[in-house]
Amino acid sequence: MRLFLFNILLAVLWMFMWGTFDIYGLAAGMLLGYVLLGVVSRTMPGEEYGRRGLQLVSFLAYFIRILIKANLVVAWEVITPGYQMTPRFIRYPIDGLTDFQITSLANAITLTPGTLSSDVSDDKRYLYVHCMYAKDRESAVKELDELRDRMMKELFSWQG
């Protein structure tokens, strides 16, 4: 987070140097500052500024991919005759997550294939998820685990 503020400072510096105070100047400054800090932070222990930025992009790409897949899954169910669903309400443990992380996870779950978050227990320990294809409970939980792990690693590693 400290390095991100430094990145903004570098971008402002860049704008002053060129005298271009518009969005393009800011974008160019941010990009150059990011590359510079990505290289410099490799020498600092415990700081991986360059990798974190790339992880953010990789999570975004992963999210868009599963959103489109989710829609195709629903589309297939709607178009083909008959029902192939095996729905369940699943109890999913979310111990140790902050409120903001729970909200993000619930939203992400709703937008991923075959799952719809439908309740949070009052003590914020469990999320209840409606799964469309959960013939085998364990594999459905495993899919949610993958999403949670990716989100915690790639999206919320910034908080550290």
Binding site: I68, M85, F89, S117, M132
Partner: protein, 121 residues
């Protein structure tokens, strides 16, 4: 703006419109066709989020072809609306599903188990 650029942007507009409308239409059909309330929420939340995103991207391409358009302005607004969509739509679906379950909305007979129901009683 160059004429070829405008033509390319028009084609992109049509492509994005078709993409968005396809998923919006699927969401609408899904609402009628799926067996119970919870499955219908699947269609409504996922389909509409992606559909509206497609329509917004189409609007972005189309508005960019105008004579006195400021592209940065348009892209920023579209990005903002898309982000709000991604936050607001799932929350709405979540609240509706929760309310329906509290109200004892009937589940499809194929539902295998309901751990939410077990924990309530």
């Amino acid at each position: 703006m160059h004429e070829t650029t405008i033509m390319v942007l028009d084609l992109l507009t049509v492509a994005a419109l078709l993409f968005g409308l396809f998923f919006m239409a699927l969401a609408a059909v899904g609402l009628c066709r799926l067996p119970d309330f919870y499955h219908r929420m699947h269609a409504a939340s996922k389909g509409v989020t992606l559909g509206v995103t497609g329509l917004l991207i189409a609007a972005m391409f189309n508005l960019s072809t105008h004579q006195d358009a400021t592209v940065v302005n348009i892209v920023a607004k579209v990005a903002l609306v898309i982000i709000f969509q991604f936050v607001a739509n799932p929350v709405g679906a979540h609240v509706l599903a929760k309310a329906a379950h509290l109200d004892g909305c009937p589940k499809w007979e194929g539902t295998l188990s309901d751990e939410l129901d077990e924990d309530r009683h």
